[in-house]
Structure formats: structure tokens, C-alpha cells
């Protein structure tokens, strides 16, 4: 690690520029280092073996052994051929603009619902954990509504909201909101009382304790909650899209079923898996960035 002389710190302008510069360079070097480390580790290869095993099982059971349960199921060669075909038999592949329309519509719904669930759920959970009185009022109602699955809300959602877009977003929001709020509340309750005492002792006001102790202290739980939240968002989105909606991956799967386009069902499912994986990873990345105090230990030893 590099020693920082007091003089360097007292003259603020110059070191700040250096810090920014070395910061960007260091993060690029860090990314490269991590990539090479990852490639050297057994992880990527085990992952490939895992996927190969999964596809192999699918291939063998459908196309080679023709097991009775799988007789209606399209095999991987058929699906892949359809998926990457310029002229797909059933009308949906990566060369068809409509495919991206479905992805876009689903992702947009997730984004809106997830955004709303986060913006409402995090403060709501923080207050649940922070104020005993608020919790006594609200938490029993919350716990009463939480076990009601989003699917059970479908009829009410359609009755309450006009059009096809809002009910789907509402259903998606619901599941997301519960996960975020509950984890945030647990996060606040997990904070060691000695941090609050220390802050009180150091002269912090109630608001400062909230801002500088409660919020950052609950952050690890909040991001666990957000990862769960984005997962269940996809879950209830597809449920919603199957019932109402004109676009989206859930709609693709459902209409392909009624119109007997079986390979397209698999395309829809695989696409869901991919897009869901990407959204979870994005949430994790944002969390790591915001909680550098937890990830710094893994950095390249520099003290900035």
C-alpha cells in the first residue's frame, strides 16, 4: 500500500485528480485481473460442463431415447434451429423484430414494477424496522396480505386497473414489493445496537442516525432483498402476461401453447432464463458498487 503524506492530503486539488486517474486505471486492471483469475479457476469449465450435461440429457431423452414423457417435447436441435433460423417455421427467432419487441415489453414492465417496488418498498421497510409504533400498526396487515399469491390477485387487478398494461405491472410490483420491504425491515433489525449507541454518543441527531447508520447498515439486506425481488418479479410477470397482455415473453409462451408452436415455448422460456439472469447480475453489480466497504477486501491492495 502507498503512504499518503499529510501535505498531499492538505492540498486537495492535486491528489483528487490523481485519485480519479489511478481509480479508472486501477478498476480496468482489476477487471482484467479478475477475468484472468476466473479463466484460471475451474469455475467457467465446470459451468460449461453443467450446461453440456443439461443439454445432453435433454437431447438424449427427447431425440435419442424418445422417452414417453418427452414425446410431445421439442428436442434441442429443433429448438436451436428454430431460434437461430432466418425463416422460422413458427414465426419467432432472433432474426424476427417481434422477438425483440417481446423482450423489450417484458423488460420494460419489470423495470417499471421493480423501480416502483424499490422506491416504495425500501423506505417502507426502513420505517418498519426503525419505528416500533409504525410496525405495530402496519406489519400485521402486511403479513396478512403477503401470503396471498400474485396469481390470486389477477381477477382484482383486471377489475381495478383499465387496459392490459397496468394490471400486469401491478401484479409484478406486488411480489417485488413484499420481498424488498421484508428484507429491508430485517436489515434494519439486524443492525447492532452498538452502532446506534456510538452514533448517539458522537452527537448524531435522530435523522443523522437514520441516514448514516440505519440506511448503510441495512444495505446488505436491502440488496439481498432486491435480488430476490427481481427474481420474483419475473415470476409474477409471466403469470400476469399469461392472463392479460398483448406482448411479452409470458404471452409468447401462453399463445404458443394454445397455437401448438412447441419450439417457440422453449424459445420463450430460454429467453426468460437469460434475461432474468442478466437482471439479477445487474442488481448484484449495483450492490457491490454501493457497498464497497464489503467488497474492498477483494481489491488489489491499493488504499484508494
Amino acid at each position: 500500500m502507498t503512504e499518503t503524506s499529510p501535505v498531499q492530503v492538505l492540498t486537495t486539488e492535486v491528489p483528487r485528480a490523481i485519485a480519479v486517474d489511478s481509480g479508472a486505471g486501477a478498476s480496468l486492471a482489476l477487471a482484467k485481473y479478475r477475468l484472468s483469475l476466473w479463466l484460471k479457476s475451474p469455475r467457467p469449465y465446470l459451468m460449461l460442463i453443467g450446461f453440456a450435461g443439461f443439454l445432453g440429457f435433454w437431447y438424449l431423452s427427447v431425440e435419442v431415447w424418445k422417452l414417453p414423457r418427452f414425446s410431445q417435447m421439442p428436442g434441442p436441435t429443433e429448438v436451436l434451429h428454430e431460434w437461430f433460423s432466418k425463416d422460422p417455421t413458427y414465426g419467432l427467432s432472433i432474426f424476427i423484430p417481434e422477438y425483440y419487441m417481446h423482450i423489450w415489453v417484458s423488460t420494460r414492465r419489470i423495470a417499471i414494477a421493480f423501480f416502483l417496488a424499490t422506491v416504495i418498498g425500501v423506505p417502507f421497510g426502513l420505517f418498519l424496522g426503525w419505528s416500533e409504533r409504525f410496525k405495530q400498526f402496519v406489519f400485521p396487515v402486511f403479513e396478512f396480505l403477503r401470503p396471498v399469491p400474485p396469481l390470486a390477485w389477477v381477477p382484482l387487478a383486471i377489475v381495478m386497473f383499465r387496459g392490459s398494461e397496468t394490471p400486469v405491472i401491478f401484479l409484478t410490483f406486488l411480489a417485488s414489493f413484499y420481498a424488498t420491504a421484508l428484507n429491508t425491515m430485517l436489515g434494519v433489525e439486524s443492525i447492532d445496537v452498538s452502532y446506534v449507541r456510538a452514533a448517539n454518543c458522537l452527537g448524531a441527531t435522530r435523522w443523522q442516525v437514520f441516514r448514516h447508520v440505519i440506511v448503510p447498515g441495512a444495505m446488505p439486506f436491502i440488496f439481498t432483498g432486491l435480488q430476490i425481488s427481481v427474481g420474483v418479479a419475473w415470476f409474477s410477470l409471466v403469470a400476469g402476461e399469461m392472463v392479460s397482455g398483448q406482448y411479452g415473453l409470458g404471452y409468447v409462451i401462453n399463445t404458443s401453447y394454445t397455437m401448438v408452436r412447441y419450439p417457440t415455448i422453449i424459445i420463450g422460456m430460454a429467453t426468460l432464463g437469460l434475461v432474468g439472469y442478466v437482471t439479477s447480475a445487474a442488481v448484484r453489480l449495483v450492490g457491490d458498487y454501493l457497498m464497497q466497504w464489503r467488497t474492498r477486501e477483494l481489491a488489489l491492495g491499493g488504499d484508494r
Binding site: 449507541r197 458522537l202 466497504w293 488504499d303
Partner: protein
């Protein structure tokens, strides 16, 4: 800072547990008062009362004549377990108090620089607590308290759980800090050598429910050196006296069913046979 007839009990009715009973003592201004007593005797409870996190069941605690009603900037507590905010760098932790009061001034910043150097953390200002060693964390915590220039510093077994080498280093760091700033200090420990090395006055506490058994003045010259303490006759006399009293209290606590006391009694009797 004066405690008069302070009592504290938990629970009610037949489940009442009296932890502190009619406890009176004075933390003299500009002096380092060390409180030592058998484990589980209610020292940490007393700390919470002095800090204002809890209220005494009866009796009064005053600071400069004014009663203590809650946590305040006039008393800084350094806790047994590290209470550095894990999400802030060393520097931000130290500056938390001044910033909370809106005093992020150049004077404060240079005082923070001074303290960082005094506790040997100058090169670690941007590290998060998880990146610091146990000893560094304790030092950072000392600096975070000292920057607020409290009237009284309250330390609750601050070097507990550190390995022997680190502990000794910390005691030296701490003694230097104290000798430089001479801030009124109340220091709780279970380590008799630490008590004699640091203290101006030692309060020896009784078994639970706790009160002050004896006050011993330690008038060894400062600055002190740990090596000298072991060879100094006056220091050894104090140590023997203190150990004798602690042994008596530990025996009572043992009779009351304390396992922690058994270890102490065992160690004490071995030592006496050997010596």
C-alpha cells in the same frame, strides 16, 4: 463526574436482579481512574449508566454538577466490541462526530490529521474497518472519541480480545495519548497489570451487586514503562494488595455460583504457591 448511591436492578418482583447497589465514586478531573472487578460484577452496567444509555433505578450521576439524563458529547464511550461504522473509511469514522455537529472545519480536519498520526493510522485513512487489524480498529475508535474533546472518556475493556503483543502495544499507545492530552478518563478492565500501568486511581469493585470495595492511589511517576512496573516495589505492593482484594471478591462470587470466578481463584492460588 460523581456517582452517588447508584443502584440498578433488572426485572421485577421475585425476578429482580440487583446488579449495582449503593455505588458511589468520583471520577476526578484530569485523572485516569481505572475500575477493576471480578468478571460479571456489573461493570458494563455501570458504564451504560454513566454513558446515559440506561437510567439508574436510584441514586444520581452528575457531571460537573449537572445530572446525566442521556448520551451526551461531554462523555465519550469506547465500547468493548468495535463499534466503528463498517461502511465508513477510517477518516470518515473519525470525522463522524464533528460532521454530525456541522463542524467540518479546517481546525477539526487538522486535528483529525494529528490524531491519525498519534494512533499510527496515517496510512490507513481510506481503509474500511474490515481492512484494519484488531489493534488498528481499537486505535481508530480511540481517535474517533478523542476528536470530540469530551470532558470524560469512558473506556469499557477496550483492549479485551487482543493478542498479548498487540495488547501491550495498545497500552503504550494509549498511555502516550493520555499523557499528552490528560483528558479525564474512566477505564474499565479486568487486567491488574494494565490497571497499575495506566491508572492514577484504581477502584476495586465488589462482587455482584457491585459497589466500590477500595480505592487505591497509584502515585507512580509518569511517563511509565511497562518493563519498570514489573520491577517496581511500590507497583508490586499495589498489585499484591489488589489481587488479595479481588481474590476475596472472586471467592464470594464463586460461592454464588460463578464459573468465571473459579478460573481466577485457580490462577491466584497457583501464583501464591509459586511466589
Amino acid at each position: 463526574m460523581v456517582a452517588t448511591n447508584v443502584s440498578k436492578s433488572y426485572g421485577a418482583g421475585e425476578f429482580t436482579k440487583q446488579v449495582v447497589q449503593n455505588c458511589s465514586f468520583t471520577i476526578e478531573s484530569g485523572k485516569l481512574t481505572v475500575m477493576i472487578g471480578p468478571s460479571g460484577c456489573g461493570k458494563s452496567t455501570l458504564i451504560r449508566l454513566l454513558a446515559g444509555f440506561e437510567r439508574a433505578s436510584s441514586g444520581t450521576i452528575t457531571i460537573g454538577g449537572k445530572p446525566v439524563t442521556g448520551p451526551g458529547l461531554d462523555r465519550m464511550v469506547v465500547f468493548q466490541e468495535s463499534a466503528l461504522f463498517p461502511w465508513m473509511s477510517t477518516y470518515d469514522n473519525i470525522m463522524f462526530g464533528p460532521r454530525a455537529r456541522g463542524e467540518d472545519t479546517p481546525e477539526m480536519r487538522s486535528f483529525a490529521e494529528l490524531l491519525l498520526q498519534k494512533v499510527g493510522l496515517d496510512g490507513f485513512r481510506r481503509k474500511y474497518p474490515s481492512q484494519l487489524s484488531g489493534g488498528m480498529q481499537r486505535r481508530a475508535e480511540l481517535a474517533r472519541s478523542m476528536i470530540n474533546k469530551p470532558d470524560v472518556m469512558i473506556l469499557d475493556e477496550p483492549f479485551r480480545g487482543l493478542d498479548a503483543m498487540t495488547k501491550r502495544l495498545m497500552q503504550e499507545y494509549y498511555a502516550n495519548l493520555y499523557e499528552e492530552f490528560r483528558r479525564t478518563t474512566f477505564f474499565v478492565t479486568t487486567d491488574i497489570d494494565e490497571a497499575i500501568y495506566l491508572a492514577d486511581r484504581i477502584l476495586i469493585m465488589t462482587n455482584i451487586p457491585t459497589q466500590v470495595r477500595t480505592v487505591i492511589d497509584v502515585d507512580l511517576p509518569r511517563p511509565r514503562h511497562i518493563e519498570d512496573i514489573t520491577e517496581n516495589d511500590a507497583a508490586n505492593a499495589i498489585k499484591m494488595k489488589a489481587l488479595g482484594l479481588l481474590h476475596e471478591e472472586a471467592m464470594k462470587s464463586f460461592a454464588g455460583g460463578s464459573k468465571a470466578a473459579a478460573d481466577f481463584i485457580d490462577a491466584y492460588s497457583r501464583r501464591m504457591v509459586k511466589g
